[in-house]
């Protein structure tokens, strides 16, 4: 990744959107970058960490997004330029502090970079973070391609420092994880001095303390904040990143932002409507530049909104149109509200093509129908669906095997509240459909704390929550404290696989190294839970029977909150990827296969990709290439047909 800090003339690279963000920040002289892992944002901090030492940047994976924002804000208060980055859900987590930060203002320029995931490609919700800009009253920028992502960041920092407020920059998966050509600019000198000045008058933005608001006196701060937004709006009227391509008086005006602008342009090209349709690409999407919009609205009678996910541009532009109706006349609007663009899911060129084709009555058939039919049939026959599942050797598969077994044997309709991480997949067959709730970070423990107190209303189902090691620090700890204090008898199963695995195995406060790979104090989760007052038991999830026994005993205890730590490194971690411990084979003579007495429990239920069902021979076998030799499957075979031999 060293090419990210290339210096010289006429340098150009193909960069991922997330890399363009880093380059942009480096060119703007950012000194502090923080975040919490979350797809599609994680590469920003990872890329920063690789150049941190050379470019004098402090980089941190914070405990959660709220803390990440606070750490970056501190840098800004001390006069440095800083950046905090997260996925859409992270903005929810950071929002309380963000609200107050937008009010207190900033000093050194500060960017909140959010990477939304329309279509929920790697999320359990289709988040839309743009409305936070309106709600929290901060400016919002949405770059439309890779070059612009880099270029707009310097402009954003100038904006942030000119008006003294945090600026939100929103990306999406198809920009963050896509790549395009980016021409590099110069990198500034990197000697920065940090100092927090606070002894000026109370409300002085440059020298006073940084407080959100004086209680019962909103006017000085809130009023000031609204003035800032007015200033931003004026700057947006002439911002070079708002662009228009098309005829001076288009039959249809497309109003779009972010990567959807590329979909829109492509759709216009494909249908050959370049002389009839104009594309207004907005990069400054809150507050909207009234005059610019009114000017373009005046040039047409019909407007199509192309954006992801919520109809925010659509709603806001309609307000502007209503306000200026007496000047420019009534318009017809198309978008999500009219059904021309779907309200759910991510967009793509075909969706915009379909909308334009419908609006202009231009038929569109990219391939002959006979071909379509034929290949559709071929795909149905020859391209079986690929479900998502735990990796071979994943400790979660073993953990959930034991958890499900324990709950079934307990036989009181106990259940598991799920949480966010790889183990979220345990709501599905790969994890035996064990998890019965799935919401946000740490919510499994919070829900379980609540369920545990319903005994007085007749609920006697045992309650379990799961969380990962990273999630524990992020959000589960307060919920556990709540349960302990209120004597809620739930069992927290802490799945400690030694890292933040789902997003690429980043470190967290329990890890022995930090993002740069330097040694760092590792917080001891077991000791913390004991100190909090929970009963704590530890087990190796690969020992199925011991783990199940321990969990059953905990389920029977009415003591109060209990923690079962299941400790085993992720299959993708360096320590597991080293040499295989065992050689695993199947004795075909002993294998009971589909017969009564087994019915393929290994391939049908356990489902590790390293186990294959041979339909001809009607026995199971091991795929040597995929099997990681974790040694668990021999223990689930009722016939003792799966054999493990230690490799010297």
């Amino acid at each position: 990744m060293s090419f990210l800090i290339d210096e010289g003339k006429n340098i150009q690279h193909v960069l991922m959107g997330n890399e363009a963000i880093v380059r942009g920040a480096l060119e703007a002289g950012v000194n502090v970058a923080t975040g919490y892992p979350g797809t599609p944002s994680s590469e920003v901090i990872e890329a920063f960490s690789k150049v941190a030492r050379k470019r004098n940047v402090y980089v941190e994976w914070s405990t959660n997004e709220k803390v990440a924002t606070e750490v970056a804000a501190a840098a800004s208060f001390a006069g440095l330029r800083s950046l905090c980055v997260m996925k859409q859900n992270g903005v929810n987590v950071a929002s309380d502090f963000l609200l107050h930060l937008a009010s207190s203002g900033t000093r050194g320029g500060m960017l909140l970079v959010t990477c939304d995931d329309p279509g929920a490609l790697s999320s359990v919700n289709e988040g839309e973070s743009r409305l936070f800009a309106r709600l929290l009253e901060m400016p919002l920028l949405e770059p439309g391609d890779f070059q612009e992502t880099k270029d707009i960041i310097r402009w954003a920092y100038d904006l942030s420092e000119k008006i003294g407020i945090i600026v939100m920059l929103r990306s999406v998966t198809r920009l963050s994880h896509a790549s395009g050509n980016v021409r590099f600019g110069p990198l500034p000198e990197t000697a920065a001095r940090a100092k927090f000045t606070y002894d000026g008058p109370l409300l002085d933005p440059v020298t006073g303390p940084m407080i959100s608001m004086i209680p019962a006196r909103p006017e000085p701060t809130h009023g000031r904040q609204q003035e800032k937004l007015k200033l931003a709006k004026e700057m947006f009227e002439t911002c070079r990143f708002n662009t228009y391509t098309g005829p001076p008086e288009p039959e249809l005006l497309i109003v779009t932002s972010s990567i959807c602008s590329l979909y829109s342009r492509e759709a216009v090209d494909v249908l050959g409507l370049g002389q009839r349709v104009g594309v207004l690409k907005l990069a400054t999407t809150w507050p909207l530049p009234n005059k610019l919009l009114t000017k373009h609205l005046a040039s047409t009678k019909k407007v199509l909104f192309v954006e992801e996910v919520a109809p925010t541009l659509e709603d806001h532009v309609k307000v502007i149109a209503a306000e200026s109706m007496s000047e420019i006349g009534a318009k017809t609007f198309y978008g999500k509200k009219s059904g021309h663009v779907p309200s759910v899911g991510e967009l793509n060129p075909d969706i915009v093509i379909a909308a334009l084709s419908r609006l202009f009555d231009v038929p569109y058939q990219p391939v002959p129908p006979a071909f379509s039919e034929k290949v559709k049939g071929l795909a149905e026959r020859y391209a079986p669906v690929r479900g998502i599942m735990f990796c071979p050797g994943c400790p979660h598969r073993a953990s959930f095997w034991s958890i499900t077994s324990a709950l079934q044997l307990d036989a009181r309709q106990g259940f598991v509240c799920g949480d966010i991480g790889c183990y979220a997949l345990a709501a599905f067959p790969t994890g035996f459909s064990t998890n019965k709730t799935l919401h946000s970070m740490g919510s499994g423990s919070g829900l379980a704390s609540g369920f545990g107190k319903l005994k007085q209303f007749g609920m006697d189902q045992p309650v379990v929550a799961v969380c990962g090691d990273s999630t524990f620090f992020h959000a589960a700890m307060p919920a556990l404290a709540n349960a302990i204090h209120h004597r809620s008898p739930f069992t927290l199963v802490l799945l400690d696989n030694r890292g933040t695995a789902m997003t690429g195995f980043q470190p967290h406060p329990g890890s022995p190294t930090d993002v740069l790979g330097d040694p760092a104090p590792a917080l001891d989760m077991e000791k913390i839970c004991v100190a909090m007052g929970a009963k704590v038991v530890v087990s190796d999830p690969f020992d199925l029977e011991k783990t199940r026994k321990k969990l059953n005993r905990l389920l029977e205890s009415t003591e109060g909150a209990k923690v079962l730590i299941l400790r085993q490194a992720c299959a993708l971690s360096p320590e597991r990827r080293a040499k295989k411990k065992y050689e695993i084979t199947v004795d075909e003579d002993r294998c009971r296969g589909e017969n009564c007495g087994c019915n393929r429990i290994c391939t049908r239920i356990f489902g590790c990709p390293g186990l294959i069902w041979d339909r001809e021979k009607k026995v199971s076998r091991i795929d040597d290439i995929i099997c990681t030799a974790c040694g668990v499957c021999p223990d689930i075979c009722p016939a003792g047909a799966i054999i493990k031999k230690e490799v010297s």
Binding site: P40, A178, L262, N348, V375, L378, A383, G387
Partner: protein
């Protein structure tokens, strides 16, 4: 540096496979090579949860004129390079047209439903028969076998990249590849990747 005009603008290449096969690396190398020749490149990728055994695709768009969107419209793929045969069929159905050229590896990766005994995965020979004559050309290559012979099956993605080079639908050669490698890999890894590239190149030229 001005780029040679393309047969179609934008020219659309899809590299597809199963999570973990090195799809992303192959598309970055391809994009890097073509950018250095003066083309405007957009690469669209899906990864994340899909890493855990799901289908992955990279849409590589090459243009002399403008920055293209990271998603290719349906039916507009000019070339599909697939690291896995079932994925080749899946992507052909979604993005192919009668003029598409398809290069596919022959080594299957069984989806969970198949290894669990619930779904059928037909033999590759049957797939080969079924797709005959559907598109302009559908070439099957034993890329994994070649990669294994070089010492590591994971090199199959580089073999396929070499094969794409051999097709010469977009201009890049061994030297371009060597330069692109230098940007992304430790010097010690370059020779084996070059060998893999050559294998693929040769398989198509033959």
């Amino acid at each position: 540096m001005s780029a040679a005009p393309l047969a179609k603008d934008p020219y659309n290449i899809i590299i597809t496979g199963v999570g973990g096969q090195g799809n992303v690396l192959a598309s970055r190398l391809l994009g890097g090579m073509l950018a250095s020749k003066g083309y405007l490149i957009t690469i669209g990728e899906t990864f994340g949860v899909t890493q855990r055994g799901g289908s992955v695709m990279s849409h590589v768009r090459v243009s002399c004129k403008a920055v293209a969107s990271p998603q290719i419209p349906r039916g507009m793929a000019d070339v599909i390079v697939s690291l896995e045969p079932a994925e080749a069929v899946r992507v052909m159905a979604a993005y192919g047209n009668p003029d598409t050229v398809i290069l596919s590896n022959t080594q299957p990766i069984h989806p969970p439903g198949v290894i669990k005994g619930e779904l059928d995965y037909p033999p590759v020979d049957e797939i080969k028969e079924a797709v005959k004559g559907i598109v302009r050309s559908f070439i099957f290559l034993d890329a994994t076998e070649r990669a294994r012979s070089l010492g590591n099956p994971i090199l199959a993605n580089i073999v396929m990249l070499g094969a794409l080079g051999g097709l010469a639908v977009v201009p890049f050669d061994r030297d371009d590849f060597k330069q692109a490698l230098a940007l992304r890999m430790e010097p010690g890894q370059v020779p084996i990747n070059l060998l893999a590239f050559d294998q693929g190149y040769g398989m198509v030229k033959a």
